[in-house]
Amino acid sequence: MSGGALGVASLPFLKVLPAQAASGDVIVAVTGQTINSLDLHRKGTNRASYQVAVNCYDRLVSFGTKEAPGGGLSYDYTKIEPELAESWSVSDDGLKLTFKIKPDATFWDGTKVTAADVKWSFDRAVSVGGFPSVQMKAGGLVKPEQFEAIDDETFVITLEKASKLTLPDLAVPVPIVINSKVAKAHATEKDPWATEYLHKTAAGSGAFKVLKWNPGEQLVYERNDNWVGGPLPAIKRVIVREVPNPSTRRALIEKGDVQLSFNIPNKDAKELAEKLDVYSTPIENCMHCVGLNNTFEPFQDSNVRKAVAYSIPYEEIFQTAAYGRGARLWGGPDTIDSIEWPRKSPYFTDLDKAKELMAQSGFADGFSVPFSISLGLADWMEPTALLIQENLEKIGISTEIEKIPGANWRTAALVEKKLPLHLENFGGWLNTPDYYFFWAYKKGHLFNSSNYMNPEIESLVDTTLHMPMDDPQYAPKIMRMFEIAFEDLPRIPLWQPALNVAANGAKDYEFWFHRQLDIRPLKGA
């Protein structure tokens, strides 16, 4: 079987692939995560499966591309670009969004992408419940009545409240457009949204089709040559193999038998950077931080909180737990001068100052407190906690490290919010500071694991959340929010973690906020 002359699209797997891989038509990527569904909207679908929504389905709009800090490319939150929509307009009051769908857009089966498909898919996303509905809600999309298919190519969204988050929220992996004719054909009375069918079969219009999926082993993507959502990908076939052991993944990428190793450990990123192309992109709107719970009496004392902040050995943690990958979030200026977030806190390591603050506090004799970490995130939490523990001991706070199993962590830390001293790492998909504060600093909200409550923050978040970022009031309000957050310190920023990707024979890797591999821009070396 000599396939060199045939198009790769028609090639079988056998024999000819090594030559093809060398010519740059095929990329093999390895990852430690497992893909458990082809349908993002289904209950129980894990994060790794979001890549199918990214690569195989289209949204109405997408984000632009920019140079990433630390090398390589990144998506650009500030630029919304067309994907399935050719153009769109927003009414003057901001309540009505009208999209024109590209007339030549087709699904893989050749049928036309219509506004009715968009409506069905959006109805599905807000109706199935679970994570998709929560994410749609962030953009003000809550019920099917908001979506309307005017004609085949015109789709209208009606909002109850104008929000700057709506358009970006249409570019996240959730509001994908599904081939509703195919899906409806497989829907049943018990399963009106065809979750059983779409779980195992993708039906989209995206840049890549699923050629083959062996759960727990591999996913093979094949290019859709009729894609109109963006520039046609250079790669014809991408094979994503699941290799659980990081050492094995490292051997594979170093040897060059695979072209891309996705989400590699910080340590490998540091060591491989000398030999291969390693992209360590700080994850936007995400930070690792220490949570001081307001329900624990000593942490109600402002001096104690600041003492903790001054006692943390930031640089040592950054080098030990993060191997220097990511961005430092300490030692910033005293005054807030921009709306950049995450940003450096004004705190730094100063044990004398910490001791002084402890002496001034109501707990001069010190106290003891359990320090909770998640076993599921032990790779960075454990070294971090040990280093902090050592320094806290020096200022009179004795801690005992309590490791909580991964399956319990969310309940203990985020739902019951009962951990006095702990580590936390929320990251927001929508990249605005108000969105971060909405989740992590508002009373009762999920990632506010410190039970923090400040009336001014509450009102600042409410007013800025939907306010356009170019509103003259926006920046002052956001900077005020930062000021309060650094003064009150419910969360002490440590560092902004990085997503590490190693490439050996692939280029133009692009970082996305969803932290999954977008294979569309990839090129062979």
Partner: protein
């Protein structure tokens, strides 16, 4: 009905209470695990409402006895439930992964028997000799080197440095399509399909993990062979046989070895069952889609159906294994009556 067939049937009937016990215990134990699967699978950003929806769809909102009855009713229809972690029906997962583990474990065992038994026999025949020392070194190394270490070391030397071994990417390199599923054993399925290229490809993938596991299983088998042979060789009937002038070969293999086989088979059974569950680390290192890594992942995220399915499948496998071992006993040593049990 022949006595042997009746005995086998009797043993199978005796296995029923064991299986019932396993069903009950695995159900109770998984529920006793810390953690709430509904919360876990709802994802980080889920709210109360979506967690409740997940709980209902997983059937976890009902009282435990009802859940148990539902589980048993499904089991009786051959439905092992749906694994949330892998997104597949548990029966399908087991059918895919059990053969992968069995193929690896059996190959490793054949390999380690082929080395351990001759070495054990020779070591017992010549205590203190070079072979005996070699046996001792192998046993010590096998016991003291953890499998993930040997695995990574082998990958480093044979794949990374020498380039002799293929990419440690699981059962088949990505260039090949798996053979049509008949037994689930790629080596056998490829033979059935007559596809020699795939057969060699899967054999190449199998060699390093099998050696890793063989090094580990070699130790108990070699030790047991040596000890059993030593005691057999020093027993009275061997002295009698020697005194009667039988050839050395006949004495060693015809009498001593046959008597030493019983404890060896027992050990083999134990090693097999042990390594089938315990080769998680080998599976992880070689990206082998086996049952051990599946069970561990499922356990970490409290995926009830998957854990229960795994325990049940293992229990059934052990019942069969014990039966086979007992049958082998009576073949090796006719004095062991089967019908009396």
């Amino acid at each position: 009905m022949s006595p042997r067939l009746r005995a086998i049937l009797l043993r199978l009937v005796q296995a029923i209470p064991v299986v019932i016990g396993v069903v009950v215990i695995s159900f109770v134990l998984t529920r006793a695990l810390p953690g709430d699967p509904a919360v876990y699978f709802a994802g980080a950003a889920a709210d109360e409402e979506s967690i409740a929806q997940i709980r209902t769809s997983m059937g976890l909102d009902k009282p435990l006895p009802i859940q148990f009855l539902q589980y048993v009713a499904d089991l009786l229809q051959g439905d092992f439930g749906q694994s949330v972690y892998s997104g597949q029906p548990v029966a399908e997962d087991l059918a895919n992964r059990l053969p992968a583990s069995l193929e690896l474990t059996l190959t490793a065992l054949i390999l380690s028997c082929a080395i351990a038994i001759p070495i054990g026999v020779l070591a017992a025949k010549n205590p203190g000799s070079f072979v005996d020392q070699l046996c001792r070194i192998l046993v010590t190394a096998g016991v003291s080197l953890p499998t993930f270490f040997t695995g990574i070391l082998l990958i480093y030397v044979f794949y990374y440095l020498l380039g002799l071994a293929p990419s440690p990417l699981g059962r088949l390199d990505f260039l090949y399509i798996e053979p049509d599923n008949v037994t689930g054993f790629y080596l056998i399925d490829a033979l059935i399909a007559g596809d020699w290229e795939t057969w060699f490809a899967s054999l190449k993938q199998l060699i390093l993990p099998a050696i890793t596991l063989a090094l580990f299983t070699l130790a108990p088998i070699a030790r047991m062979t040596r000890a059993a042979m030593l005691s057999a060789l020093s027993s009275d009937f061997i002295r009698t046989a020697r005194a009667a002038g039988l050839s050395d070969h006949k004495v060693t293999y015809g009498y001593a070895f046959r008597n030493a086989l019983l404890p060896i088979i027992t050990t083999l059974g134990m090693v097999f069952s042990f390594s089938l569950g315990a080769n998680v680390l080998v599976e992880k290192v070689f990206a082998w889609p086996g049952i051990g890594s599946y069970a561990v992942e499922a356990l970490v995220v409290s995926d009830y159906a998957a854990v229960q399915g795994f325990v049940l499948a293992m229990a059934l496998l052990f019942v069969t294994l014990n039966l086979v071992i007992d049958l082998t006993y009576s073949v090796i040593d006719p004095r062991i009556g089967f019908d009396t049990k």
